[in-house]
Symmetry: C2
Subunit: 308 residues, 2 copies
């Protein structure tokens, strides 16, 4: 079954307490595709890049089963560029530069065979772009998951709410959930956000893990405690890619299977932060992933039979 990933492919400049890179491949769709392609080789990528984007990066994803026909290459344009500096806690960062470049005119026109996808992941983009993509679909996918950020709550709240109303799973971080709902309690925030449309809500809490809400049900997955978080860039997109990749592979959109998807996404994200940019993602093996998932099982597993 096919998975469409919509998002940015970009260059990042990153500064963390552990080092600095001036120019490394980034973007939500890049991370999501690297992550999801561990589980499915039927991915349709939708993005936009400039003529400066390395062909070998496109080829590397294509070799993993990612169809790049939906990636618009603007030969005389420059790719989206973001530069940020992380604080010591790695949960907060300052944006130093945001050069939209070709992203400013991103108006994706889906190739014909993209219009009947089974699963869709909408990375963080202008809500109008997310809506436009959904409106081009000929059939309703089995599951649409959408990421967004506080910026769109500030400048495009109405469009954002429209986009949110069209998706199955919304994914935001804790402060975004609070801003969107006006509730401090994440439980109350989850109720309000589900009333906006999505039947499932994922709240990411960085090093503190992630919550999955569905009606009155809630599931929690921790982040793996790591010796070092080297570079958190892309961890959220990698998480999302692992989640939807697992769902696409298993073709099972039950709440039970989404829980497992959250664990898979968390495992993938725990690799992503070990090196700068997507570097760690490029060298992962299936054995690495299995071993990491086992660590998650050990991390949260306890014997309830002892209690009563």
């Amino acid at each position: 079954m096919s998975l469409m990933i919509v998002g940015t492919m970009a260059f990042d400049a990153l500064e963390t307490p552990f080092g600095k890179v001036d120019r490394i491949i980034g973007g939500s769709a890049t991370y999501a595709a690297w992550s999801a392609s561990n589980f499915t080789n039927n991915i349709k990528q939708v993005s936009i890049v400039g003529g400066d984007f390395p062909q070998e990066e496109m080829d590397a994803l294509a070799a993993r089963g990612v169809d790049m026909a939906g990636v618009d290459v603007v030969k005389d344009g420059k790719s989206f560029f973001w530069s940020g500096r992380y604080h010591m806690d790695m949960n907060t960062r300052d944006t130093l530069v945001t050069d939209l470049n070709v992203l400013a005119d991103f108006n994706p026109q889906l190739p014909e065979d993209y219009k009947e996808c089974d699963f869709v992941m909408l990375g963080n983009l202008a809500p109008a772009v997310q809506i436009s993509v959904m409106n081009q679909l000929k059939t309703r996918p089995k599951l649409i998951i959408m990421d967004t950020m506080n910026f769109w709550m500030d400048v495009a709240l109405d469009e954002l709410k429209q986009a949110i109303s069209m998706v199955d799973v919304l994914m935001v971080n804790d402060s975004e959930a609070r801003q969107l709902s006006g509730e401090f309690s994440l439980v109350k925030a989850a109720t309000k956000i589900q009333a906006m449309g999505p039947k499932y809500l994922i709240i990411k809490k960085g090093e503190h893990g992630a919550l999955l809400f569905h009606g009155k049900h809630v599931f929690f997955a921790p982040a793996l405690p790591l010796e070092e978080v080297f570079d958190p860039t892309g961890a959220g997109d990698t998480f999302a890619g692992g989640f939807i990749g697992h769902i696409a592979r298993t073709k099972d959109i039950s709440f039970e299977n989404m829980k497992t998807g959250i664990i898979v996404g968390s495992a993938l994200a725990s690799f992503c932060v070990e090196k700068f940019g997507p570097n760690r993602m490029k060298e992962l093996t299936a054995d690495d992933i299995d071993a990491r998932i086992d660590e998650f099982v050990e991390l949260v597993n306890f014997d309830i039979s002892i209690i009563s």
Copy 2:
């Protein structure tokens, strides 16, 4: 098997975003005893109070199997008083008043039958007091768990390190673990702190749950997502009391059983925060606790068989 709890019994004045109380029963040993007494009725309490401490509060604990012979009552003294104001996030607070009163002269002399306890919980106190209690024991308990706080790292680090070297389980929050170890990464902090003596380290992260470290093993328990955290006072001591109460009841100090103890402690703490002071703890039934533990199981349980 007997459990000795050493700590404060006090009055608190509390201000949270949800309300205010000028004078309510508090203290680490109060919360720990209410919590642990759900699991064992063989508790020996060690504390100090003034003549102002209500007899009915002592009687209420005695009725739950808590031996109050180790509680020094200074008839013409005043009980320890603490006043604090919580911020909106409920994870941070300002201390407004700390009146040590009788606690300033706390020099516990254990009754003879307290000197051969099986399990010991040392609440947050001056390290010299914690050491003195341990030195009065005639036999080595099966397990000693100790709480402390950043204040003692600032003013009595050498004594604190001595106390830590004598216990099996140290319990601190994340910022205290970082201060004590000089490491930002909690994984690295855990390694350094275990090298100081305790074979087990519990790192409390408030609403973000708790970690249990033992050698290379790590276990994580989330906090239950709640609609409202009404008053977090005593949650850590309630957690500790539930943990050691479970251990005392099962008489099993294995790492596997400690994991379950962490879940039991987390469940108890999730009740504690629902009302001001220890009020919620006083009305708990065994059914309430079982149901809450089931919620924890549902919160973290996922089907790994789906993955591979």
